[in-house]
Symmetry: C2
Subunit: 409 residues, 2 copies
């Protein structure tokens, strides 16, 4: 059961001028489900992306990087399949990803390097190219602007609900639309971006600026979530600016640039948090805030130590205020000169520890009350400096084990 | 159910001349179980230890380090309680650990700094000093050489079987005995040593040499196991040499030194592996071998990435050869310049991947056959150099979640 997350209302997902979407049921792995998605972008659109840092990055990730570079961001289409990650597949995997782009480019009348390929699913198996290529014409025939809900559904794997966020605002007197989708529920500790996030706006943003923004948005969203600490081979996060609306941004200094950037970060964060809310087996949504660190990296190391600890995560699952486990995680986060006698720990409004030990006024029943909530904020204050960060995660439940023990069966 | 691990036969645990052990039921946390252990060492014994690197190290760990230094290793007693870790307890925790040593020293007629204290159990709660001090006289009255089985039982927490290893050999014509005990089943990713390992020999070994050996033994045993990646606040591993037997070792060059050192490493490794075999919820015992790394640290980083991955561990639990998860873990282990096209992966005698992709001859049923075993060796060959290491771990099962969600209730 996802934590405070519902499937989006299709009517609330605004079309983005310059983007059409189409899906198909290609039986990549299982029959009957949408498993291929094509996004067509209008001429003049620019795209930018960030991708997994896993050294075993999947073939489509390598091809995405090549194509973004060769096309200078002048992308005309994205193609996504679920059910098979095309990772750990060597030369044949690369050739499969390239053939997919070529087939779609021929059908849409653009260059192959203007197509970005994405795959998600099982690792170490070859793509069923016959079925994938056979599915493309159906997805192309389905292309239409009002297909975001179907698109969000088509990229799901172990997700239990589709994830989409849409906003329509006015910036500098121009109506601007931002709509995005994401997927992911396990193998989630993005290290640049997660598999998969796609966000489109009808504003015009040059590719170089969009590339900077996509990194900044990832760092504030997809790079701040973790479910199980496993960085996927396929993480990809792509921002698209079609320029088909009225707002034109030329640089950070353009009127409306700051507002659009903030909107993109906001949508990214909501999509990233949706992945945690639908984390495999998740019953709670946990925000881990670390303050008083010397550097942002130090804050992140402590936040991830807490967010990855199986003992901390099972305690959240059990609503058990066994909070010494959080102190233990802070202690092994790798800060060699951490003075534990300066560390404070809070659970929402309850101070648990002060100066490295149990807070004198802390009562078990107060900890218990917070632990029973569905949404909990852990706040660790290190007392070393001014840097801080927030990481979002979920608990570790029986269902996580069930889902991952049964994934392929 | 522990993996190929049975409770030791008490008759097979040889007494070590110069060591007496006594236990008591002090109701530290739960009534009716042995929860206090005292080891008395003969005059002239030397002891050396390695302790957790967790910055939130427990009060008894701090006091152990002080006492080892002040006594120069001339230790006369160890005192252990379970049920409460005396960690995250500030000044009062230190004072409690010191009072415990003082009380035992008074009873045994030695100096307080000749007593080493150890605690294990819940973090962030104060020791029930009244009950602990009341239990000491009973443990002292119980002191006898043939109590290793009871001692192994008295230090258990979530362990399902007591862990003890005993060897009697002849070195340079002298009979030499080595007997040790360990405990631990969760919060296991020792970073110097694990909570708790105690090994005693009746050979004579000077404290400085013993200190070197305890580090080397830890690095080859307790520092190569992981259950959940959580480094405890209380990890402690102590070697004792009573000198009450016939063998005298003065330096690494003494006759028999190499043999005794190898024996101590061997016993350490068996005790460390016993902790993994009894890992919380473990159904499989996994050896992760990484070869062809540039450095030992690099090999260890890859081995731990595999051994900590919840996705890899749940796949082992399910006997599912979803081996792409192992490649993904290798890929995110932090080797920035890893050439994945040189990576091979083996599961026992089955080659799964070659040159970064699926091995042409790999068949799913071969992977399945190995995954069904109770003991499995994963071997990753990086193709970068000559360094290698082995880490031992277990799978991640439903019972791990149950045990840790219920631990305090």
């Amino acid at each position: 059961m996802p934590v405070n997350l519902k499937a989006p209302d299709p009517a609330a997902l605004h079309a983005v001028a310059g983007v059409e979407l189409g899906t198909a049921r290609a039986q990549i792995r299982k029959p009957g489900r949408r498993d291929v998605l094509v996004l067509r972008l209008a001429e003049g659109a620019s795209a930018a992306g960030v991708f997994t840092r896993n050294r075993f990055c999947a073939a489509p990730v390598r091809v995405c990087r090549e194509h973004l570079e060769r096309s200078g961001g002048a992308v005309r289409a994205l193609v996504v399949n679920t059910g098979n990650a095309n990772a750990g597949t060597g030369e044949r995997g690369l050739s499969d990803a390239r053939s997919t782009c070529e087939a779609l480019a021929a059908s849409l009348g653009c260059a192959p390097e203007q197509v970005l390929p994405f795959s998600t699913g099982v690792i170490l198996e070859h793509l069923p190219m016959d079925r994938l290529l056979a599915g493309l014409p159906a997805a192309v025939a389905d292309l239409a602007p009002a297909r975001w809900a179907e698109a969000a559904e088509a990229i799901m794997t172990t997700d239990t609900v589709p994830k989409a966020v849409s906003r329509r605002v006015e910036i500098e007197g121009c109506p601007v639309t931002v709509t995005g989708i994401s997927k992911g529920a396990g193998m989630i500790r993005p290290n640049m971006a997660t598999m998969l996030g796609f966000i489109a706006t009808d504003a015009a943003v040059p590719a170089a600026l969009l590339q900077r923004w996509v990194r900044e948005a990832a760092d504030a969203s997809f790079n701040r979530i973790t479910i199980d600490g496993d960085t996927s081979t396929n993480d990809s996060f792509v921002l698209v600016a079609t320029g088909a609306g009225g707002l034109r941004i030329d640089s950070d200094q353009s009127p409306g640039a700051a507002q659009l950037r903030a909107l993109l970060v906001d949508v990214s964060r909501e999509l990233a948090q949706a992945i945690v809310r639908d984390g495999e087996g998740a019953t709670k949504f946990i925000s881990v805030v670390v303050e008083g660190a010397r550097t942002g990296d130090e804050a992140a190391a402590v936040a991830y130590a807490i967010a990855h600890s199986p003992l901390v995560k099972t305690a959240f699952f059990a609503s058990d205020p066994n909070l010494g486990r959080i102190l233990a995680a802070i202690g092994y986060a790798g800060i060699e000169d951490l003075d534990v006698d300066r560390v404070d720990l809070h659970l929402d409004d309850v101070q648990v520890a002060s100066r490295g030990g149990r807070h004198p006024a802390y009562r078990e029943e107060d900890g218990q009350r917070v632990m029973k909530q569905q949404e909990i904020t852990v706040r660790a204050v290190l007392g070393r400096g001014d840097a801080s960060t927030t990481v979002w995660t979920c608990d570790l439940s029986h269902d996580y084990v069930s889902i991952n023990a049964d994934y392929r069966s």
